[in-house]
């Protein structure tokens, strides 16, 4: 004969075990443990990233130099026919919607294809978009360090007209350099602007 107290303990343990099994099942079938890509880790604060590049005018730039203003940063390459120009157009539009406030924002396009995107190519390409957008380029090693800091990724294709798979989200950082949000190509423009305005307040 088990005591009442032991019975309650067993009942409690049994309930907890059942709950645990159910939770595990949910985790593996429907929850975050389900078989789908895990969300990428969040980008480091800009102040903790470490890479050195030049902008499309040849000036030395670094992620630390962005701290002090909110920043929009994204990766791409100038031979990209679809996503990159569309993203640059979106950003140009957001900047024009912001009007004079746009001056309170850093906007940076970092190439993941420094072999083709020479400084000259970057300077020519950036000329098509809002002049506030800076085009950054570094060596392959520095590009890799930048990509790692943003927890982004890229992969160069093959052949003479290779394409580059790359993280196409736009990263939004607060003025103190901490990561705030991502914006993507299919985002409603009003919502994207709201996110940007929020970090500018």
């Amino acid at each position: 004969m088990i005591s009442r107290r032991a019975f309650i303990t067993y009942l409690g343990a049994g309930t907890a075990l059942l709950g645990g099994v159910l939770a595990l099942g949910w985790w593996q079938v429907d929850g975050p443990g389900a078989d789908r890509p895990l969300p990428a880790a969040l980008p480091l604060p800009l102040s903790e990233m470490s890479f050195a590049m030049q902008d499309h005018t040849g000036a030395d730039v670094s992620p630390q130099g962005l701290v002090g203003k909110p920043s929009l940063v994204f990766f791409g390459y100038t031979f990209c026919p679809d996503v990159c120009p569309a993203t640059l157009s979106d950003i140009s539009r957001w900047l024009s919607e912001l009007g004079p406030d746009a001056a309170q924002l850093n906007t940076v396009f970092i190439t993941v294809d420094p072999a083709r995107d020479t400084q000259k190519a970057m300077a020519q390409y950036m000329g098509y978009f809002d002049p506030a957008i800076r085009g950054w380029r570094g060596s392959l090693a520095e590009t890799d360090k930048a990509v790692a800091g943003f927890r982004a990724s890229y992969e160069l294709g093959e052949g003479p007209d290779y394409a580059v798979n790359h993280t196409s989200s736009v990263f939004l950082f607060q003025a103190d350099g901490r990561f705030a949000a991502t914006l993507d190509l299919h985002e409603d423009p009003a919502q994207a602007l709201a996110k940007i305005r929020r970090v500018m307040e």
Binding site: D82, S89, Y128, D161, H166, T167, S168, L185
Partner: protein
Amino acid sequence: MKRTLFAFAFAVFAGLPALVAAGQNGIIVEQAWSRASMGESRPGVAYMVLQNTGSEARILTGVETGVAMMPQIHLTTTDANGVSQMAPAGDLEILPGAAITLEPGGLHIMLMKLKQPLAEGENYSLTLVFKNGDNVEISVPVLSATARGPAN
């Protein structure tokens, strides 16, 4: 001829914009546009909406144009981590009554190895190649390098 008339009637009925091309096979193309090319060596791109007003499925197998040596239909996909990649889209089936949309961040015609710059304000000719041999030739207007859609 009957089909062309039908397609035309449909276009008028639906109040579609002026930039409409109707093929013999019931395919209507609207909202075609290209972004002005940027520099000599970068690939161009074209977008449009293809509507099948016919009674049979149509299969788009490719494109031809005098402005590029290697025009290809590509699909951009973006995974859960926000990584985008492009790959040839292969044959595209358009069911009767259905439409496919080529737009930034999805299906697009990639104009590789441009033979001439695509200048804003110009138009160029592009042929959509269908499996049944009824090809559709359209005129694609070139919009600005920062255009985001057919309306601007």
